[in-house]
């Protein structure tokens, strides 16, 4: 079983010459050529509050902080409104804002017990409507996901 991630970055006019970068990665376990073998599947939730929510919980009880385990997170803001954003944080550290249509794909190592991935629909109001997000986790450790 294999999971493949492909990213293409393309622009015809951000530089004097066209830019076209394509990267393909087969997702493997830590320090290994063996494929990742577990997945949360694709999930969809609607955010309708500015309150920060924990999307993926780091394991405080089933793993030893600092374990060298591989995990990858895909997260996308499915809003059609380019101004509506979701603030993504790990623990207390803000990573960035996913505006409508934007996605991220990052490794997630859960190297401390507080390394939860959190989201907040920061500029949501009752008139903006829900902000739908979709996410998936690919990982190797059966205890990686405590809220599964």
């Amino acid at each position: 079983m294999a999971t493949t991630a492909t990213l293409t970055l393309a622009s015809s006019d951000i530089a004097g010459d066209p830019v076209n970068v394509t990267k393909v990665a087969t997702l493997t376990k830590a320090d290994s050529t063996n494929d990742l073998d577990q997945s949360s599947g694709l999930n969809r939730v609607h955010l309708r509050s500015t309150t920060q929510k924990t999307l993926l919980s780091a394991s405080a009880t089933n793993r030893t902080p600092g374990d060298n385990k591989a995990g990858k997170v895909y997260l996308i803001n499915k809003s059609d409104d380019a101004s509506l954003y979701v603030t993504v944080s790990i623990n207390a550290q803000t990573v960035g804002k996913l505006y409508g249509g934007d996605f991220l794909f990052i490794p997630w190592s859960q190297t401390d017990a507080s390394a939860n991935i959190k989201v907040a629909a920061t500029n949501w109001t009752s008139s903006t409507g829900d902000i739908p997000i979709e996410y998936a986790l690919f990982h190797e450790d059966q205890d990686f996901l405590t809220n599964a």
Binding site: T3, T6, T33, P107
Partner: protein, 132 residues
């Protein structure tokens, strides 16, 4: 204004019913439909397991950017810890470990530096692009 598109494809047969996801987004300035117009592309070779300041906030003049980082190694034991936070030795948060052949792509609020820690003191190459 430039037009820059990022497309991701994910395919997986881990589950009984296979997963296939594809999405494209235009890289825009914060909250607009105006495309980003600045790109930086860098390749670095690191030769120490010390924390390295990979992308400094001072290198970007906005508060919203998109970052692509790639570990082109083919040696599965060579990875980078990718961290974000105070690069001067203070508190940092590890996002994750970029193993050989892995990439990451994410929006960055340009509030703290992006740093990395190589797993080996052998020469290790890391590549990144920043769009802002």
């Amino acid at each position: 204004m430039a037009t820059t598109n990022a497309t991701i494809g994910l395919t997986s047969d881990i589950t009984d019913s296979s997963l296939s996801v594809s999405n494209t987004t235009q890289l825009n300035t914060a909250g607009t439909t105006t495309g980003v117009n600045t790109m930086t592309s860098v390749t670095k070779v690191l030769s120490s397991t010390s924390q390295a300041d990979l992308i400094a906030t001072g290198s970007v003049s906005t508060t919203h950017a998109y970052v692509y980082i790639n570990n082109p190694s083919t040696d599965e034991t060579k990875y980078f810890k990718i961290t974000i936070g105070d690069h001067t030795g203070g508190e940092v948060e590890e996002l994750g470990r970029l193993y050989a052949g892995d990439f990451m792509f994410f929006p960055w609020d340009v509030d703290d530096d992006i740093t990395c820690v190589p797993s080996s003191s052998d020469d290790m190459t890391i590549e990144y692009m920043v769009f802002s």
